[in-house]
Amino acid sequence: MDEERRIEQSKVAVRWLVVVVLCAAAIYLRRSGTIDTPWVVIVGLTAVVTAANLTFSAVLRRGAPRWLRYVTTATDLVLTSLLIAYSGGSGSPFYYVYFIVLVSNSIRYGMSMAVFVAFIYNVAYVMVLLLHPVGGDLTMEGVKILAFWGVALYAGYLATRFQRQARILQSYEETIAGLRTRLDELEAAHRPQERR
C-alpha cells in the first residue's frame, strides 16, 4: 500500500510539472495563432487539472486505495482528450501527451494498466474524432489508434518482464539474507566449543 501511495504521489508531482508546461505551450501557441483554442478552455482546463490534482493529494494523505490509480489515469486521458479536441483534433500538437500518460502508467503498473490506458484512449480518441471530424479518409486515424495499441502492449510486456525480474531479485536477496543469518547462528554455536 505504501508503494502505491509513493507512486501516486510521484504522479501528482509530475502532473504539476506537465500542467505548467502544457499551459505555457497552449498560451504561446494561442498567441502565435498556431491553435485557435478559446482562452476560456485553456483557463478552464488548467483550473480543472489543478482542482483534480489537489483532490488526489487530499485523498493520498489518508492512503492510496487501489481504485485511485484507475481514476487518476482516466482523468488524465479525458483532460488530454479535451485539450486535443479544442486544439485541432487529430492534427493537434498535443496529441503526443497521450504517450506520456501511457508510458508513465504502464512502466509503473504493468500490462493491466497498459491495456486500460489503451482502451480509454481508444474510446476518448473516437470521441475527439466525432467532435472534430477529419473528413474524407479515416485510414490514418485508424492506423494511429492501432499504433497506440501496439505501443501500449509492448510497454506493458516490458513492464511485466521488468516486474518479474525485480521479484526474482528480491527473492534472491531474501535467500541470501536468510543464509547469512543461519551462517551467523552456526558460527555463534561453534565459537564456545572452540574456546574449550
Binding site: Y125, G142, V143, L146
Partner: protein, 63 residues
C-alpha cells in the same frame, strides 16, 4: 507424459478465428467511414492476442 487439455482442432479453429479478426482489423482500418467503427478495436486486438497466445502456449505444451 503431458496431458493436452485442448485438441488440435480447437486450436486450429482458434487460429482461424484470429486470422478472421486480423482481416476485420484491416477492413475496419481501410474502409471505415465513421469513427465509431474504431470502437471495435479493443475487442478485435485483444481477441487476436488471446487466440494467438492460446495457440502459442498449446504449441509449447503448456496445456
Amino acid at each position: 507424459m503431458s496431458t493436452r487439455h485442448f485438441r488440435s482442432r480447437t486450436v486450429g479453429w482458434g487460429v482461424a478465428l484470429a486470422a478472421v479478426l486480423v482481416a476485420a482489423i484491416v477492413l475496419v482500418t481501410w474502409k471505415a467511414t465513421n469513427p465509431l467503427l474504431f470502437l471495435l478495436y479493443p475487442v478485435l486486438v485483444l481477441g487476436v492476442l488471446a487466440l494467438l497466445a492460446m495457440a502459442m502456449l498449446w504449441a509449447l505444451r503448456h496445456f
